[in-house]
Symmetry: C2
Subunit: 254 residues, 2 copies
């Protein structure tokens, strides 16, 4: 029922840490039990599941439809933790196909996030989790934003990456073409506690060090900022995203 | 003017990555230019500054009072990046004394944070930055919370650790002794958008996986939660802290 993992396949799995290998194979590695459970419940096509005997004992309910399409490998946990990026993964990893990109379809009502060159994988993963919490279905990413399938992004998203659609686009041009309110988070915008949020639109979050690039700034219909009561120079990009989403949804839960 | 860094001292600096060495020496290492600039502007007693020639050229205005107390070492950037925890630190690090603990002094007005076993260094550092942004002067930490002087905590705080007072206390007993509103962030508390925040009190944030421990839960005067509009099971601890602080300060900026 379980195959043996060849050395060749083990070496291949390690390579998925590299973006160019992921692109060439159109596949990625996901590590950890919680993420895999989210993956199993999603539409992602899973190529292999590599798990310990404990994992397979505890997850005997992997549906037949998935078992038919997916190779299952049983390995010792020492080998498992050498295959991925995280030394603490002692249970399971999976290799799944990267879905074909589709054209982003923005909901005519509701809120969309746009990320202008978010560089830190932990920030992108956390932002995906925040989007999933606030029911935001789509995130537009500039092509300079870190890759969704980077292991640290997937890890920080805590499984939420299966629920939120990310689209990598030419962000300034894409936003220019939209006929929607486009709000940008800046340090000198209108204080958000008094801001009248629209019922729908795009919220742009800028790069961790440089903020929103000029070409994207030109597309904004409003700049908003988070009121500061103390001294810190700035907030982390994911932190700021959370505060903005909470304030927007408080007013327009629709 | 600049001393040569002995091999013995270089070895000693590397050891500061370990908590028990920091405790034994009552000192810690801080890496990176922004943090060091915050440190120079603070009351911390700095023992050494180890920087590249570029750093010292750009920072000729280190006050005489600090130069008198502090040994300055000029090193090549290759050596520098081998001394600390971050390979990307190519400019400067400092060794400073850990201040003697004092009894926490809660402001009778305003808001205090309490952290019940926050384990992730990035989360603690980010929470310190959030506290600094929202003008929260004091954070109470359970003794099981990660050490403030862990290099990753300091890094994520972006220099804000010099502005916020952290006190490691026996949290359940300490809170039991307070005669203040004590709010806890839980997944099933009252929705915070309708919650009437008090003018002053303590906000408790629980552990990343297990939430608030039972002995601390008993001390709460109210449990509040962040409204969810989508599907994610939870939010990151630092993300949740930010949303709660923003909602509290929106109502009671005093």
């Amino acid at each position: 029922m379980y195959s043996t993992l060849s050395k060749k396949k083990a070496t291949a799995i390690r390579q998925f840490a590299l973006k160019k290998y992921r692109l060439a194979q159109a596949a990625f590695v996901l590590e950890g039990k919680k993420g895999i459970q989210a993956l199993l419940a999603s539409d992602y096509a899973i190529k292999y599941i590599v798990g310990t005997s404990t994992f397979f004992e505890e997850n005997q309910d992997i549906p037949a439809s998935i078992r038919k399409e997916t190779e299952l490998f049983e390995v010792k946990k020492e080998l498992l933790s050498r295959l991925g990026s995280f030394v603490h993964n002692h249970e399971v990893l999976a290799v799944a196909a990267i879905p074909r990109p589709t054209a982003p379809c923005l909901s005519p009502s509701g809120m969309t996030l746009a990320l202008d060159s978010i560089q830190d994988p932990g920030n992108l993963g956390t932002i995906i989790r925040i989007a999933d919490w606030y029911g935001i279905a789509t995130i537009l990413c500039s092509q300079t934003t870190v890759d969704l399938y980077n292991p640290k992004v997937l890890q920080a998203s805590m499984g939420s990456f299966v629920k939120v659609n990310l689209h990598y686009v030419d962000l300034p041009h894409y936003l220019q073409g939209l006929n929607l309110p486009i709000l940008g988070a800046t340090l000198d915008g209108k204080p958000l506690h008094d801001f009248l949020f629209p019922n729908y639109g795009v919220l742009v979050i800028g790069n961790e060090s440089h903020g929103i690039q000029p070409a994207v700034k030109e597309t904004l219909t409003a700049a908003i900022s988070i009121p500061r009561y103390g001294h810190a120079n700035s907030l982390n990009a994911a932190t700021a995203t959370a505060i903005l989403c909470d304030n927007w949804k408080r007013i327009c839960a629709g």
